[in-house]
Every structure is written in structure tokens, then in C-alpha cells.
Symmetry: C2
Subunit: 205 residues, 2 copies
DNA sequence: ACGGCATGTTAGATCAACTAACATATCATG
DNA sequence: CATGATATGTTAGTTGATCTAACATGCCGT
């Protein structure tokens, strides 16, 4: 693995570039870094990256993959600590989602902003963004069976719950909660929202 | 108003540039148009825009103002047709919100993506994005008084309802609903979500 | 009328993405 | 182990876009 000649051939430039890009995005707070900066940070010339990425958007796509897998890992992690079938498990997923988005606000725009909308490589973007969703799906399924909610609604329900967390994340990032509800915090808003919603479900069942 | 000499001094270049930018964004589906294209479309040279906008982001900011005011107008319009105090009024606002975002997907990334997150000019962005929110606030306030919900929760409630619509819009634009619930449409999802949520409120009251 | 200021124009500086042509190391294969 | 194909790197340069400088024109107040 260790390169015999430390000069020339980098050894793992592809990953080094992704890491450099992630660092630059986090430092600058947005994705408008220059390709050459990522190259320099990886210790190579300005043309080297193009041996590994067709263009800058290809690199951004790899960064996006990284971000989505991190999100998935975060969501998977909190599930280890929650009792399956409880409303708390669902809420914990939503909180992990919002926590990730607020702690990595610079990624949010990438994941859901312009690049996301374009959905260049639909199949890849499907895969990666769905990881966390399947975990939510599982939690919702267990909650439904414990609360005598029709199985057929699990998918629809999960989408709605996802939307709630996603919407709160976006509105928080934009600063609307701080502006209109300075005393509130997103996590308790998600908690009460989810409880209210699930209560409504039980009543309408 | 009409310029005596049709050449040289344009007369209303600032607005012409904003309009040109809007057209280009809509045609191209994203905001990566060249400044010179907007200039050409307005019939001026490449340097002329800089007499009206410090740089390209300043132009984008004006476009953003336009988009937000359009959104506000759309939301205001549907309120004319809805009985105040009804759940339908709240739902109609959400639907108008989602309709605008899906019909102008190229604006969504601008309004909520990278540019939005940066929130360069905080005060201006406050103003413009709040227009629609105050209309929602009003509808929620009337609904609360008709349903004996504590007045103090109006603001919090409105944020939550806004989040629901915003989240559904984002998830739709990204294609997740089409993928996971191909038979569903966003508007009925918003409708049932809102009803469920309001039902939960009445029960927990 | 005329002078100042807003608003245009052309030319060009700067910078980032990307490409071409060449260089070097690694690896498969005899 | 030799050797050539291939992967991966370098330098130099093209292109295209933003923005600036210096100059031109015409509108508007006095």
C-alpha cells in the first residue's frame, strides 16, 4: 500500500481529493472552491485531478456520496439505542437527520440544493439518499404494528415523517426558527410535531 | 418614459436584466447562466450590467426578490377563495406553496439552496421570505380561535405547518415521492398530513 | 445653454476549468 | 528479470466568464 517513491504517483489521489474537497467546503462554508485548491491540498498539480474525475461536478458527486453515507451512518447509529416500535425511535431518527444537516450546513445545499435538484445520475442518487429512509421505514413499520395502524400506509407515513424532519431542517438552516421562535429549538419542535402527528393518526385510525 | 433615442441609454436596464436572468434560469433549468447572456438579451454590452449590479450575486439577489414576491402573490391569491378559520384555508396555503416550488423548480434551489443558506443580506431575505408566512400565520390564528387552541401556540404551530409543506416540496422535487409512492401526489399527501396533524392537536388540546 | 452625473461602450486583466503533449512509475506477461 | 502497455502524474497553454479601466453619450437641474 505504501508508495515506494513518495514523489510522483500519489497512491490514493482519488480519495485524497474527495477529502480535500470536503475540508474546503467545510472551511469555506460553501462549495465554490477551486479545483486547484483541492489539488494543492492533496499535493499534486492542477491537472492531476482530471485523471480521476471527468470534471468538477464529478468530484462534487463523490463528495455527495460521502455526505449521504455519513448521514446514513449517523441515522443507523442512533437506532442502536432506541427500542423498536416506539415513537421515540422515529423521533430519534428525525433528530439525527436534523442534527446532521445543521452540523453540516455546507452539505445541505449540496444534498438538497442545485446539484440535488438536477439529479444528474438518478440511479446513484437514489441509492445513496435512500439508506437513511429504509431505516426510518423499518421504525415506522414496527410502530404501526404496535399501534394497530394499517400496514399499507407505512410507506406513505414514512414519507410524511421524513418530510417533517426535512422541512424543519431546511427552515432552521435558513434561520426562520431563530427569527420567529428565538426561544424554541428544532429538536423539541420535531418532538412535539411528531407526537402530535402520531396522535392524530391514532385518533383517525 | 419612452426614451427619445432608442440606442444607448436603455431606460430600464435594471429590470430588463432581472427579467432576462429569470428567463435564462427558467430556460436552462439552473442558475449557471453567463452574465453576458443576460446583457445580450437586454440588448446591451457585457459591462453594462455592472452599472446596476455590483456583481453577479447581486443580480441573483434581485432575482430572488422577484421569486419570493411571486410566491407571496400566489399565496395571497388563494386566500381570497378560502373561508378564514377553516383547515382548508391552511391546506390551500400549503398547496400554493408546493405548487409554486414544483412549477418553478429552478427557483427552489436558489431560494433554499446555496444562496439561501448563505443569507448574505439577512434583513432583506427576512423581509421577502416572510410575506407568505404572515398570511399563513393569519390563517392559523383564525383556525386556533375556532378550535379552542391556545393563542400562544400560533407561531409555533405555523412554523410546523410551514415545515410540513416545505419538506414535502423538497422531497417531491428531489423525486423521492415519485420513486417511493408513484401512485401518490404531493397535494393529497399535504392534505392528509395536515388533517392528521390538526386532528392530533385537537386531541392533545 | 451647459456642466455634472448616470449610464453606456470597448478593451483588457484576471482567474478557474479543462486539454494536449510529454514524463514516470507500476504491473502483466514472456 | 526484461519490457512494453497502462495508469497516473507534470508543464504549458486554451477557453470562457467575471469584473475593471478608460472613455463616450445623453439626460437633467440650474
Amino acid at each position: 500500500m505504501r508508495p515506494k517513491h513518495p514523489a510522483y504517483h500519489h497512491g490514493d489521489l482519488r480519495n485524497a481529493l474527495i477529502l480535500a474537497a470536503v475540508e474546503l467546503i467545510e472551511e469555506r462554508g460553501s462549495a465554490d472552491f477551486a479545483m486547484i485548491d483541492a489539488a494543492r491540498r492533496a499535493g499534486v498539480s492542477s491537472a492531476a485531478p482530471y485523471r480521476h474525475f471527468r470534471d468538477k461536478t464529478a468530484l462534487m458527486d463523490a463528495v455527495l456520496d460521502f455526505a449521504f453515507s455519513e448521514l446514513g451512518r449517523n441515522i443507523a447509529a442512533v437506532m442502536q439505542t432506541q427500542p423498536l416500535g416506539s415513537a421515540e425511535a422515529i423521533i430519534a431518527i428525525g433528530k439525527a437527520y436534523i442534527r446532521f444537516m445543521t452540523q453540516h450546513r455546507e452539505f445541505y445545499a449540496l444534498m438538497w440544493g442545485a446539484t440535488g435538484i438536477r439529479a444528474v445520475d438518478q440511479e446513484v442518487s437514489d441509492e445513496r439518499s435512500a439508506v437513511g429512509f429504509f431505516i426510518l421505514l423499518d421504525a415506522v413499520e414496527h410502530w404501526c404494528s404496535e399501534n394497530e395502524i394499517a400496514e399499507q400506509d407505512v410507506l406513505q407515513l414514512s414519507i410524511k415523517l421524513w418530510s417533517m424532519a426535512h422541512g424543519l431542517a431546511g427552515i432552521t438552516l435558513y434561520g426562520h426558527i431563530e427569527r420567529f421562535l428565538p426561544q424554541a429549538d428544532v429538536f423539541s419542535l420535531l418532538e412535539s410535531s411528531t407526537h402530535t402527528f402520531l396522535e392524530g393518526l391514532r385518533k383517525l385510525r
